[in-house]
């Protein structure tokens, strides 16, 4: 968003995301699963944010709610003036279309489309996108635009996914275990791409991971377990991806 260009990360700036008492209960057959048990969370413009937690802690559920893929059972969540709590299917779709970029653990590229076409898929429906070529160059894939997913390595596929997510110039980039399926070396390249997007485009970047070392490159880290926030810390000195110890 153009109004949040300053890089301030202090609480004096109004948060872009504002969530209070988020609760999510799934019903799986006879059993009720409490994925989230009252989470309060603020996300600030331009910040690089890491959500840490073991699998099953509820972090993916939280990300889905922030991204407008799911709605909470109780509590409120707001993005600027969008109330995501009570939004209907159409409003959520519009919200995702205009503001959100997603990166998934398994890349989720369309196998029948080339790298460039996968990115075009998003730029074609965005209001002010960058060109697919620029987006791919941003993640260092300017040379492999016409390759199909099957012809790319895992790291390359994930970078195509990042290019696809950022090409629409989203206000928020939500990444669910973006390096979960990658080895260290390729993981670093992917994280560098994310870091560069955050730096250059000032996109709020939320990364969820169970990999503690990734937390060191964040502005702010929240740990959750069993659907509750267990810790929050701020990194005075962010590490670069290359400095991370896996």
């Amino acid at each position: 968003m153009a109004t949040h260009h300053d890089q301030s990360k202090t609480e004096t700036v109004a948060p872009a995301f504002f969530a209070r008492g988020l609760t999510k209960v799934y019903r799986m057959g006879e059993v009720e699963v409490h994925a989230l048990r009252g989470i309060d969370l603020d996300l600030y413009p331009g910040e690089f944010f890491v959500l840490l937690g073991p699998s099953g802690s509820g972090k993916s559920t939280l990300l889905n709610i922030l991204g407008g893929l799911d709605v909470p059972t109780a509590g409120t969540v707001q993005y600027l003036d969008h109330d995501l709590t009570s939004a209907g299917e159409a409003a959520l779709t519009r919200y995702r279309r205009e503001h959100v970029g997603f990166v998934f653990q398994f890349y989720n590229l369309i196998p029948s489309l080339t790298a460039r076409e996968n990115v075009s898929l998003v730029t074609e429906i965005a209001r002010d996108p960058m060109s697919p070529e620029d987006a791919l160059r941003l993640v260092g894939l300017g040379e492999r635009m016409d390759h199909f997913p099957a012809q790319l390595s895992g790291g390359e596929q994930q970078r195509v996914a990042i290019a696809r997510a950022v090409a629409k110039r989203p206000d928020v980039l939500l990444c669910d275990e973006p390096t979960g399926a990658l080895d260290l070396k390729t993981g670093v390249v992917v994280l560098e791409a994310l870091s560069r997007v955050n730096r250059e485009l000032k996109t709020i970047t939320a990364v969820i991971t169970h990999n503690v070392s990734i937390a060191d490159m964040a502005d702010r880290v929240i740990s959750i377990a069993d659907g509750r926030v267990t810790a929050e810390r701020r990194n005075p000195h962010k590490k670069t991806p290359q400095e991370l110890n896996w």
Binding site: R97, I110, I125
Partner: protein, 787 residues
């Protein structure tokens, strides 16, 4: 092209085999629809124009003799527009080069060219000129059958005297579009021909000068036909009318109408089958595709594609199937329609009869196909639309298996592990397996439906011409003759046996219902003409009672043992109460039979005969024909086998053509269903099959897994196909039945066997195509990829 459309094109390329199968099945449905509807409309349109331009009459009546003044009385009946009286007689013809005699129907036309009804359309030559002796116009069918042209001469036995008729013109008439002798089951252009002759020449020859024996009239708009017919009957009864009748009972029109209603039937059931099968195939393919692409759909949703955009994306697949099926189907349908029109043109003589493919027929076909396709896609696309994006991101949970009914009762103990895998797979998706079985079965059903007609026609032929009509030749005398006529006939050369009959027009009445029919008086234990009952046994001719067509009894609402009243429409018009003593199972017309002596008693006659059935020594038949042609008292002669042969060859050719088309269509269904089932089974199980290969199974063993499933479905489909075929054939028999035509449901074992064979061959061939994929299975790749 947008990225999403590129995805569409590439997905379609992946699916091309299945897409082709769907398009072919759809095209079959469209083709049958377009063929039958466009042919129907071409024929119906040509007929309507012809009837209108050449003033085809609405009501007809044949009588013995009425003075011309009666015409005026009839014209004054409310609702009558125009009346034409004429003379119509059947005569024996001696065609050069043909041993047996032919029957000519002479129809009078007014001397002065007046704008009358049932106008003839000259194809060659000129109209007859009054005052020139022996001039006739001949119907084109007969002219073509004998290569007649203006100037040719034909000897005809006119009221007992041989006379040479000179052909001056060749023509068509709306009254004889289908030129067939009343009572005949099929046209015989060599032995029956229509001729037009000047009234001033024909009437005096039959002592009908200033009189007529046949009527045709048109009705005013809004006139009530039964009302007018009732009034005409009142007026003409005393002139020996056998009852007026409307177009629906007019021979030529009735038979064409039967064809038209068959075309209408053809436009409904078969296309519905094909479109239902294609809808099913689309459903299976799209469900599979959407299941495979759930993660892709989730991504699209996550990035803000709306549900409608996603639904539209998948509907585009379907539009491509519809487009492909429609285009192919319309072309094939138009081609077949043209062929069918040409075929009809051989039988139906119309001045202008062109095949026309109307745009609205094409539009209708496309719409029908689109509706079927969208119905087939709906549930699958709905799944894509309602798929929650967050959930779809996770891979589909593994297929759920459990021990089901069949295994609980212990069937699995009889099976090998491979057999158990197949059984569990099939029973896990009972609806899909069931529909697949029905799909394959429908291919067999289409074959049975297409082929049973031949069985039925052959059965009707056999019954009618060999079991009911045991005679070789039937002759009709000019007037109800004396015992001497029969005696003479029995002593003609080569005649082995002669049995008399006395035919008379009558009105039978039961309660409020009545019907005008012909009653045939037969000898008590007839050998040469034996009406049969439903179980194929000869019905005894009762001494006092009457035996009638089951259909006639049904129309009258009378049961065996009940008494009905019979009014003879000849002579003193006696009315008698008669017991219905038996029913005959016949296939054409409405008939009634009585003891010939009972008929004579009612008529207060002693030994009269209308005609005779003869069996003939084949070695002496030429001699017999020669004599018959020279017997003045014989009005017409029908030679059974000669007529039969001519038609059989035409029919065999047409049935063969129909059978070939059916075979192609049924094979396409079988191929479409089996191929799709095989491909999907392969796709769903490629990991499983690859695993089996990795742990040491041979290609053959793995193939058995896949082909065993197809084989089991096909085996299940065989009886279902027979049953569906039987059901559809029963429906068709009911749909085709009219008052005048009935088709028994006859399906020969050979027809079932052929249907089963085609199903098995189509399955086997398709199975082998799918098997090639097993051979090419890349073990490493399959095991690496997710899902």
């Amino acid at each position: 092209m947008t990225a999403l459309n590129r995805k569409l094109v590439r997905d379609l390329t992946q699916l091309k085999g299945q897409a082709v199968a769907i398009v072919l099945v759809m095209a079959c449905g469209v083709a049958v629809f377009v063929m039958s509807v466009s042919t129907y409309r071409s024929l119906d349109g040509a007929l309507a124009t012809y009837y209108d331009r050449y003033h085809f009459a609405d009501v007809f009546a044949h009588l013995k003799r009425a003075p011309n003044s009666v015409t005026g009385l009839i014209a004054s009946i409310p609702g009558v527009a125009q009346v034409q009286s004429r003379v119509v007689v059947d005569v024996t013809l001696d065609i050069p080069g043909m041993k047996e005699p032919a029957v000519g129907r002479l129809v009078s036309i007014p001397d002065k060219p007046t704008p009358g009804l049932n106008r003839v359309h000259l194809r060659a030559g000129r109209m007859v000129e009054a005052g020139r002796r022996g001039e006739v116009i001949v119907h084109e069918s007969f002219a073509l059958a004998h290569g007649l042209k203006p100037g040719d001469r034909i000897p005809a036995l006119i009221n007992g005297r041989w006379q040479r008729l000179t052909v001056v013109g060749i023509a068509l008439s709306p009254e004889y579009v289908y030129a067939i002798r009343p009572g005949d089951a099929f046209p015989d252009d060599k032995r029956f021909g229509v001729f037009w002759m000047a009234y001033s020449e024909l009437a005096p020859a039959y002592d009908l000068d200033g009189a007529f024996n046949d009527l045709a009239l048109t009705l005013l708009p809004g006139a009530i036909e039964p009302e007018v017919i009732f009034q005409i009957d009142q007026l003409t009864e005393r002139y020996g009318s056998a009852g007026a009748y409307g177009r629906s009972d007019q021979n030529s029109h009735m038979l064409i109408d039967g064809e038209l209603s068959q075309l209408r039937g053809m436009a409904s059931i078969p296309p519905a089958i094909f479109l239902a099968v294609s809808a099913f195939l689309i459903n299976v393919v799209m469900t599979r595709l959407i299941g495979l692409q759930r993660e892709q759909i989730a991504v699209l949703k996550a990035f803000g594609y709306t549900s409608w955009e996603i639904a539209w994306h998948f509907l585009k697949f379907v539009s491509i199937f519809v487009a492909g099926g429609s285009i192919l189907g319309v072309f094939v349908g138009a081609y077949l329609g043209r062929g069918m029109t040409d075929l009809y043109a051989q039988f139906f003589k119309l001045p202008v009869f062109d095949y026309r493919l109307q745009p609205e027929v094409v539009l209708g076909a496309v719409l029908l196909t689109a509706v079927a396709a969208v119905l087939g896609t709906l549930t699958a696309v709905r799944r894509a639309v309602v798929l929650p994006a967050a959930e779809a991101m996770r891979p589909e949970p593994p297929a759920e298996y459990r021990v089901r009914f069949l295994e609980r009762i212990g069937i699995h103990r009889l099976l090998t592990p491979a057999g158990r895998m197949i059984l569990r797979r099939l029973s896990r998706q009972p609806v899909r397996s069931g529909l697949t079985v029905v799909g394959i079965a429908l291919s067999g059903a289409v074959l049975v439906l297409g082929s049973f007609v031949e069985d039925t026609v052959r059965y009707v032929f056999d019954v009618q011409f060999f079991r009911v009509q045991c005679y070789d030749v039937s002759i009709v005398f000019t007037e109800a003759g004396s015992p001497q006529s029969l005696h003479d006939a029995a002593h003609l050369p080569g005649v082995i046996r002669a049995e008399p009959f006395r035919a008379v027009a009558a009105r039978v009445r039961f309660g409020a219902r009545h019907k005008r029919i012909g009653i045939t008086g037969l000898v008590r234990d007839p050998q040469l003409f034996r009406p049969l009952d439903a179980s194929g046994r000869p019905v005894p001719i009762p001494e006092g009672g009457v035996v009638m067509s089951a259909k006639l009894a049904e129309l009258l609402g009378v049961r065996v043992g009940e008494t009905l009243s019979v009014e003879i429409l000849e002579g003193e018009r006696p009315i008698r109460e008669v017991v219905l003593s038996g029913l005959t199972e016949d296939f054409a017309g409405l008939s009634a039979y009585m003891d010939i002596r009972a008929v004579r008693r009612m008529l207060r006659e002693t030994d009269t005969v209308s005609g005779a059935f003869l069996t003939v020594d084949a070695a002496r038949q030429d001699e017999l024909y020669f004599q018959l042609k020279r017997t003045p008292r014989v009005a017409s002669v029908t030679v059974k086998t000669a007529a039969l042969k001519g038609f059989e060859s035409t029919m065999a050719e047409n049935l063969m053509r129909m059978r070939a088309i059916n075979l192609v269509f049924a094979s396409i269904i079988a191929f479409g269903v089996v191929y799709n089932t095989g491909r999907i089974a392969f796709a769903e199980r490629s990991r499983e099959l690859a695993t089996l290969r990795v742990i040491g199974f041979t290609r053959a063993e793995v193939s058995i897994q896949l082909l065993g499933e197809l084989a089991m479905l096909t085996v299940l489909a065989l009886p279902v196909g027979m049953l569906c075929g039987y059901g559809l054939a029963s429906l068709a028999v009911v749909a085709l039945e009219t008052e005048n035509q009935r088709f028994p449901l006859v399906i020969e074992p050979a027809t079932y066997a052929m249907a089963a064979l085609v199903m098995l061959i189509a399955t086997a061939v398709t199975g082998l195509i799918v098997r090639r994929r097993v051979d090419r299975l890349n073990l490493v790749e399959v095991l690496k990829s997710r899902g």
